[in-house]
């Protein structure tokens, strides 16, 4: 077929016309490259946008699904719950379409009621749907590939994105809990996107990023549930690990029993996340999260496991807390899947038979929520099937996928202990396997290892990784075919998101599953960077927007990064957002509360106001007692700077300095780079001026005191709790300038831009 013949196809012309595209005249020269022709519809797009929604989903999937009437046929489409359902279903239909009778594809004959089609006649020749089906078959003989001409919308068009330097600021705060250094900012301003990417990889080498990464992953795994008290110790059975309570001899070694016990507990609880951190830090394949043939221990858990090379740790040596890979004799490791914390967090029972574990496995590592296979109504009251999970289609729709994977968990009890390999698996349940692959019996001793390898080589693993990182660093739950429903705007958003995820996932796999690459792509995407609409299509806007309400942990880090002092009662206490207000501000405990709140409620609104009050009260005097060159907040002013003298004379230099410092604060706290005449800067100036003037009036009238409230003085080092030298104390505010600055700081700290990124 000549290239222009394809475009001459009436259907394609119709599609192009429907899409409102301009069609170029076919080239007169046969050698012309049709892929350059505007309006080209490639095969995947044709299936996704035409055949699937209009024919396959609407007509075929009424029966040709796992629980449908045609479930026993050779054409059973996979559920939309699979992230790769389009490509899988396209390949499936293509394979069936290759079967012909008298030169006509079976997929054209069956819907016309021929070839013993169980559903009889569902389409007629000449129907729009039938024409689409014909086009699909036609394309199998004459595939259409389109070279990108820039006409396919990626979703970025019409969106205003953060600049490279602005993206660096946001990324530095979220990934590393700090502001960019001037050198970093300059480099990115000068070097643009390549310099941004380089800077991001630099941020990802920092210790704080490891903390952030682990924090994000725990939102998925929830294994920090065992960080409470000494719950980590309870993950192991001392029958299996006789040296579990090794620390009971602590006093003999002059050590603190409670400290050793707590560190042992934490190490056991943190094992899955330590593996994740190890892989990320060392640029190891993320697939090892499942396939690693080792576990992560530190000096304390090595003792609990009784590892041969374990020795009594030096509790004063910070290195004793460092994790390292290790193998435990007799344990068939399979990454985090065989860690006691994971197995206990996702327990099983005699009747559940690891199905909960299988559900979590699919959902987390393969981006497939099996339970959504069953969102269509079922009616078990009419089931007469013996062993319904094997034989009733209402049940097998989930169980056929879930149970083989459940079987692969057979070696592990709820408490993470090993089941003797001699014990048989249930005979009234599907045997262990993955998809259409049965697990060879020789793999039984490390069934999870076998399962992990299957999953790691499945394209869905990389998709799940990208989706996890997208959610983690934007706070937005990825769309699925099910959540998008039939809403055309969401459908378009899903199309764009899927195209992006698939592309990043493919590249991630090609880069040996280096998870930092997925993070880089999220950070440089519009999902992280969009700030405005300048003509985007509606589908692009569904997930666009940097409107992520900071989590308690993120806000905690941002406070320190920008103000230089933490929000806490005193130097010996935990920060408010890590402790007292963590749950109220939408945090999780990984146990009873496992979903973060992403919108501020009335309590959270009040907490942010209290934070602004207390931090303005504390940070202003503490910054002002520093030498001007060391100040984070007030490098350009002194408390003596007043715009007008007591005699009523204006002091332009003082006002300019105040404006310049307001400009500095807007940039530092909110990331707003404002000109001096910007209305927002003027609004801040007017607030400063009104509070200062109003305060002066109150001082003059004796209705306010020049002595600061004790909680708003600088008398103690906020980090150490030590008293400041008397000559550096700040206890009074006779000009009311300190409180004017405090008011401005309280204004900025309660701002939407401070609380969101």
């Amino acid at each position: 077929m000549r290239p222009h013949d394809r475009l001459a196809s009436p259907l394609v012309l119709a599609l192009v016309a429907l899409a409102g595209c301009q069609v170029e005249e076919p080239a007169a020269d046969d050698t012309a490259d049709d892929t350059q022709v505007a309006g080209c519809v490639d095969d995947a797009s044709f299936f996704r946008e035409e055949l699937y929604p209009k024919v396959v989903k609407k007509t075929c999937m009424g029966c040709h699904v796992a629980d449908g009437l045609a479930r026993d046929s050779s054409l059973v489409f996979v559920s939309e719950a699979r992230p790769d359902h389009l490509s899988v279903n396209e390949a499936l239909l293509a394979s069936i379409a290759g079967l012909e009778r008298d030169g006509t594809s079976i997929v054209l004959l069956k819907p016309q009621g021929e070839e013993d089609h169980g559903g009889g006649e569902v389409l007629q020749a000449g129907d729009t749907s039938f024409v689409l089906l014909e086009e699909f078959v036609h394309r199998l003989d004459a595939p259409v590939a389109c070279e990108s001409t820039g006409t396919i919308r990626t979703g970025d068009e019409g969106l205003e994105l953060l600049s490279a330097a602005e993206t660096l600021r946001k990324a530095s705060i979220l990934l590393a809990g700090r502001l960019p250094t001037p050198q970093e900012a300059d480099a990115v301003r000068a070097g643009g996107e390549p310099a941004l990417v380089q800077a991001l990889w630099g941020l990802m080498t920092e210790d704080t990023f490891t903390d952030v990464f682990v924090e994000k992953l725990n939102d998925v795994l929830l294994t920090d549930r065992y960080l409470r008290g000494t719950d980590g110790i309870g993950l192991l059975d001392d029958d299996d690990f006789p040296s579990l309570y090794w620390y009971e001899d602590a006093e003999d070694y002059g050590d603190d029993y409670n400290k050793l016990r707590a560190r042992t507990s934490s190490a056991l609880a943190r094992e899955p996340l330590a593996l994740a951190a190890h892989l990320m830090r060392n640029d190891l394949p993320w697939t090892e999260l499942l396939t690693a043939d080792y576990r992560m221990v530190n000096a304390y858990s090595a003792m609990a496991y009784g590892l041969p090379d374990a020795s009594w740790p030096d509790a004063d040596d910070p290195a004793s807390l460092d994790f390292r890979p290790a193998k435990v004799d007799g344990v068939p490791h399979a990454g985090l899947l065989t860690t006691p914390a994971f197995l206990s967090r996702y327990p099983t029972t005699d009747t559940n038979r690891n199905r909960h574990r299988a559900w979590f496995f699919f959902k987390t590592f393969l981006a497939t929520d099996i339970l959504t296979f069953a969102d269509r109504p079922i009616d078990p009251t009419v089931s007469n099937a013996h062993n319904p999970t094997m034989n009733d289609p209402q049940c097998t729709v989930c169980h056929a996928t879930m149970d083989p994977v459940a079987g692969a968990f057979q070696n592990w009890e709820t408490d993470g202990s090993l089941v003797p390999v001699e014990e048989p698996w249930y005979s009234d349940m599907r045997p262990p396997g993955f998809g259409d692959r049965a697990m060879p019996s020789t793999e039984r001793p490390n069934a999870l290892g076998w399962l992990a390898r299957q999953a790691a080589s499945d394209p869905r693993f990389a998709i799940a990784t990208v989706q996890t990182m997208l959610h983690a660093f934007t706070g937005v739950e990825p769309l699925t075919a099910l959540t998008a429903g039939d809403d055309p705007v969401k459908q378009e958003a899903l199309r764009q998101q899927d195209a992006w995820v698939q592309e990043v996932a493919a590249e991630l796999a090609a880069r040996s599953h280096d998870v930092k690459y997925a993070v880089e792509r999220v950070i440089t995407s519009r999902y992280f960077r969009a700030v405005g609409d300048v003509g985007a299509d509606p589908g692009s806007l569904v997930h666009a927007g940097t409107a992520h309400l900071l989590t308690p942990e993120e806000l905690d880090r941002k406070i320190v990064a920008t103000l230089g002092v933490p929000w806490r009662r005193n130097a010996n206490s935990a920060t408010y957002l890590a402790d007292r207000y963590r749950m109220l501000y939408g945090g999780i405990d990984s146990f009873s509360v496992t979903q973060r709140l992403t919108d501020p409620n009335g309590v959270m609104g009040a907490i942010s106001l209290r934070m602004a009050t207390e931090m303005a009260c504390e940070a202003v005097p503490h910054d002002l007692v520093l030498d001007q060159t060391q100040r984070r907040l007030f490098p350009l002013v002194e408390l003596t700077y007043e715009p007008v003298t007591d005699d009523g004379f204006e002091v332009p230099a003082a006002k300019q300095a105040i404006l310049a410092n307001l400009q500095w604060l807007h940039l530092r706290l909110l990331g707003e780079d404002l000109e001096l005449d910007d209305p927002e800067l003027q609004a801040s100036w007017e607030l400063w001026r009104d509070v200062w003037q109003g305060g002066k009036d109150l001082l003059a009238d004796g209705e306010a005191s020049s002595t600061l409230d004790s909680s708003c003085t600088a008398t103690i080092d906020p980090w150490t709790g030590d008293s400041l030298p008397k000559d550096r104390e700040l206890r009074s505010d006779p000009r009311f300038t300190l409180r004017a600055w405090s008011a401005v700081l309280a204004y900025l700290l309660a701002d939407w831009r401070f609380l969101h990124e």
Binding site: T351, G485, T546, M583, D751
Partner: protein, 415 residues
């Protein structure tokens, strides 16, 4: 983009703006007067045959019985059949005139997630908001803690920010964010007149940011922040209603906090949850205490509502993911069964009735959709249908936001 297009897109993308900005700004000057909704979720899938739809077994020889107790042990309390489970007789006696029991409710699923969603949103579709979220959005002016999400199904689809309030000890200090010492009225960060200037500056700034937003997600986020701060004195009002100590029982604690919020007029609806119902093993011994915790929690809530003088404004709805099989498995447990029950009471609900029925094997019997009498070829009640009635009770059956989330058929369930 014009405002109309913007709103349409916002709605279409699930980022539901439900009222123009200015209307939201003038919120909550007065306490919300009720009605107040309490949703009790029995998490894991309860067994109605041990609660409000008892079956029993005829004799020792019966093969594969639904229950281990005998049919002649089932009591009648008013219109209700009551199983021989400790505490049930007292519960149904207490609420014999108020309680509506709906039996034979078909959740159409054995999946926890889908069943919970169906029971509390009225749909099996992913992303559907809980009825509590709709209620918390529907009220205008909207109190800033309008939807309390203690547990269970609390999906909001962006309609409203849910509030978790397990720890109330910090309420006093955050109720007065402008005070340096929360317990001292005079201990303000700035003198009152200057605080007012600061508050005005903050509001003006947020308004400007909102007006300048061109992305729906950003605009909505700024709107929610404004809304979260709109309830001046609401937390202070709540602080005066909170007891000095809360019950140890988790469900009762959730109820206590919710009712304090109701009395203070700062909340509209609350989702409460108690777990442990997924008894695949050792069913009777494990399940019965959970049901007792549930009915004790409901009773406690109504006692507390009476003590606070708001009992006549409280609507209680009780449900679960689905039910348990009408037979025991090899481990004396019961697995998932899609035919369940729901219970409810409160103003607008005619109590002292049982609607719907199941046969001796807990298969639902069909009903005439107009009379609700048993009728072959009639309909099965689904949670979606129950929600159609609850929405009508809440006065939101003609509300365009609710219409975006379709539920079932309107049957005369509530009387």
């Amino acid at each position: 983009m014009d405002r109309r297009t913007f709103l349409r897109l916002t709605a279409a993308s699930g980022l539901a703006a439900t009222a123009p900005w200015p209307a939201r700004r003038a919120l909550a000057a007065d306490p919300y007067p009720g009605p107040y909704w309490l949703f009790f979720h029995a998490s894991g899938g309860w067994d109605p045959t041990l609660l409000c739809d008892p079956k029993g077994r005829r004799n020792e020889q019966e093969v594969d019985p639904v229950n281990t107790y005998f049919t002649d042990e089932i009591e009648e309390v008013g219109p209700f059949k009551v199983p021989p489970v400790d505490g049930m007789r007292a519960f149904f006696s207490r609420f014999r005139d108020q309680l509506l029991v709906i039996n034979g409710v078909d959740t159409q699923t054995n999946s926890h997630e889908t069943g919970t969603r169906h029971t509390w949103s009225g749909s099996m579709d992913p992303g559907m908001p809980a009825l509590g979220a709709l209620l918390g959005t529907h009220v205008e002016p909207r109190p800033s803690l309008s939807y309390l999400a203690h547990g269970g199904y609390d999906v909001t689809d962006g309609l409203v920010a849910p509030t978790r309030l397990a720890d109330t000890s910090a309420i006093l200090e955050i109720a007065y964010p402008e005070r340096l010492d929360p317990s001292k009225e005079e201990s303000t960060f700035l003198p009152d007149s200057l605080m007012a200037r600061l508050a005005q500056a903050r509001n003006d700034r947020l308004q400007r940011l909102h007006d300048g937003a061109t992305l729906p997600r950003v605009a909505r986020s700024r709107e929610l922040l404004a809304l979260s701060r709109s309830g001046d004195n609401e937390l202070a009002r709540l602080a005066t209603r909170l007891p000095s100590s809360l019950p140890n029982d988790g469900l009762q604690r959730q109820a206590q906090v919710s009712l304090a919020c109701f009395e203070a007029g700062v909340a509209v609806a609350a989702s409460l949850s108690t777990g442990g119902f997924d008894t695949h093993g050792n069913h009777d011994a494990s399940h019965t205490p959970r049901l007792q915790t549930l009915v004790n929690g409901i009773t406690y809530a109504m006692d507390e509502a009476e003590r606070r003088g708001i009992a006549d404004k409280v609507i209680v709805v009780v449900g679960s993911d689905f039910a348990r099989t009408p037979y025991y498995n090899d481990g004396n447990g019961k697995d998932h069964w899609s035919i369940t029950s729901m219970m409810m009471m409160g103003p607008g609900i005619r109590g002292g009735r049982v609607v719907g029925a199941t046969d001796e094997r807990q298969v639902p019997l069909r009903l005439d959709p107009e009379t609700l009498q048993l009728r072959d070829g009639g309909v099965r009640i689904t949670p979606a249908d129950v929600h159609a009635s609850l929405r009508q009770l809440a006065g939101m059956d003609a509300w365009d936001v609710a219409a975006r989330y379709p539920v079932g058929s309107l049957l005369p369930l509530l009387g």
